[in-house]
Symmetry: C2
Subunit: 330 residues, 2 copies
């Protein structure tokens, strides 16, 4: 891979997470699909927030969590995403820069507030999300800093970015710019409902634009509309350079050409909150990938990073992943 100053630039929705505990009855009463992300408007966000228990705020956003993870691993990372210039936007900007991620997207001066994701963690540690996109709808192709992308080995895009209408064009522009500059394009499918919303487009992207694809078991099954994991893996094999499929406690399966790499999940003392598990797996994987590690090791680093983030509330690492990986892998 070309010698570049950055490993990964992420592009995604710039979101502050609002985390609270809830029970299954609360999810049912609010009509939220457990384990998934539901888009909500400002009015519904206010009502849901009012019904929620006391909460903790942490910066979030899928691709943002991933690049924060890359930085925590010691990698060079950048981010492109839209906040408003309000208190939550300042929190988002502070947190991502504080871990060393380059983040210079101009905040929106007016319009909707910085995006919030209301995260409800059930007693089984599963997270269910209601996202108010807020200022994310203001991201446009003009925000795609091609010079930043040209400095990175990988551009990492989240499927969620297809939800704010103008962001889709930004997404497509970023893919073109990345390839024009000789970089690799990585995509996460993000969420099963997100796959349902954009299946046709995602199938086309996977076949024609994506070099490295991330999906969990349910997402890849939804993409190919098959009920069985092995059938989904067979369907996606060979459609891009590398496919990393995560399966929670069953570990991950990495496909590259005809090769398979099976990686076990890292043991976790107590799973507290699964928010960010997939994001941090991608962080570890891409950190290894941009450093030329073999794909099994990439998956292993991903598993270590994911195990850290599910051991506490919140979707960003609470400790140095670089130290954790060096202690675990030796």
């Amino acid at each position: 891979m070309a010698d570049r100053a950055l490993d990964v630039v992420g592009i995604g929705n710039a979101i502050v997470d609002v985390l609270s505990h809830a029970d299954e009855a609360f999810l049912a009463a609010e009509g939220l699909a457990k384990g998934s992300m539901t888009l909500i408007d400002a009015g519904r966000a206010d009502k849901l927030y009012a019904a929620m228990g006391s909460a903790v705020e942490c910066s979030g956003g899928a691709a943002a969590n991933t690049v924060a993870g890359v930085a925590s691993l010691g990698g060079g990372a950048g981010f492109i995403g839209k906040v408003k210039n309000d208190q939550l936007g300042q929190i988002f900007r502070h947190d991502i820069r504080a871990v060393g991620v380059t983040f210079d997207t101009e905040p929106a001066a007016d319009g909707p507030s910085t995006a919030r994701c209301l995260v409800l963690v059930t007693p089984d540690a599963q997270r269910t999300m209601g996202t108010y996109l807020g200022a994310c709808v203001e991201l446009t192709p003009d925000d795609i800093d091609e010079a930043l992308l040209a400095r990175a080995r990988v551009t990492y895009l989240e499927g969620y970015l297809w939800d704010p209408p103008a962001a889709k064009d930004a997404f497509l522009k970023a893919m073109r710019a990345t390839h024009a500059a000789g970089g690799k394009v990585a995509l996460t499918l993000s969420d099963t409902f997100c796959v349902e919303r954009y299946r046709h487009e995602f199938l086309d992207l996977v076949d024609n634009q994506v070099d490295v694809l991330f999906a969990n078991e349910n997402e890849i099954k939804a993409l190919y509309q098959v009920g069985d994991f092995d059938a989904a893996a067979a369907a996606v094999r060979g459609r891009c350079e590398v496919v990393a499929l995560t399966r929670s406690e069953k570990g991950s399966l990495i496909l590259a050409g005809e090769a398979n790499y099976r990686v076990a999940a890292e043991p976790v003392e107590e799973v507290v909150d699964t928010t960010g598990a997939g994001d941090l797996y991608a962080a570890g994987f891409l950190y290894g990938y941009t450093r030329g590690r073999n794909l099994g090791d990439c998956g292993r680093i991903g598993a270590i990073a994911a195990a850290e983030v599910i051991g506490h509330m919140g979707a960003r690492p609470a400790t140095s992943l670089a130290r954790l990986v060096s202690e675990t892998l030796g």
Copy 2:
């Protein structure tokens, strides 16, 4: 005690905590006294925040944490304190109401933003705080809802409230109103530097206004300017109805007339962050006190509540204290 709908109304600075990890060198470089609270202005708050690592936001404020604890114990609680009508103010209002605390103080429509406390947690789990008072300086005697105070058995005031100039008058008005309505006045000395700033006033309050006094070892030594805990305890004995002195892992000593109650600290698996330990001790103590428990039991409930809050980041209970106390005390 008279039959009233509420156990405790707290009056204090309405603050959102911004918690981050830091090492001792960082505290030294920033000139922050470890374990204490330093008042900082908006400019210094911005600089300190920019220098801090990525953070987590949780509602805080000493008296606010205490009444949140009372509510978590199953008690009736209210709060008086000033936020601005901004995003952090909305977070503060949501969190305190979500645990069932009555909170109706009118938010400031303009002026400084909602107060922030930048909390730096060192590897030994000790917390060091830089507080930007923001909208707290807008609290005035007009905000003291005497009808609310008359509904409560105890009005709980934090010494920190002497820092915003107009709040002092609100504080004095609240004490008078509480006694006029037949309630009890409780005070926490808050912080050694706070005691140094207002020693003369605090000595006068303890002798003439306070029924229940809370202080930790360093604060009570600072109040009476003695170097020895036993001398400080002897100096304060008899100056108010009940004195509860906390000593971290050494437990607490409760003085009432000639009687002493020594309460052991509750065992904690891992001390993660001491933020809120004193606030939650006061919550447990006052919950027991307003329910007519003996003073040893009051201290024990305080110790259980404090042990819960130091086991995780943040100064509000992360679990139901009512359940915890019933499991522990049986």
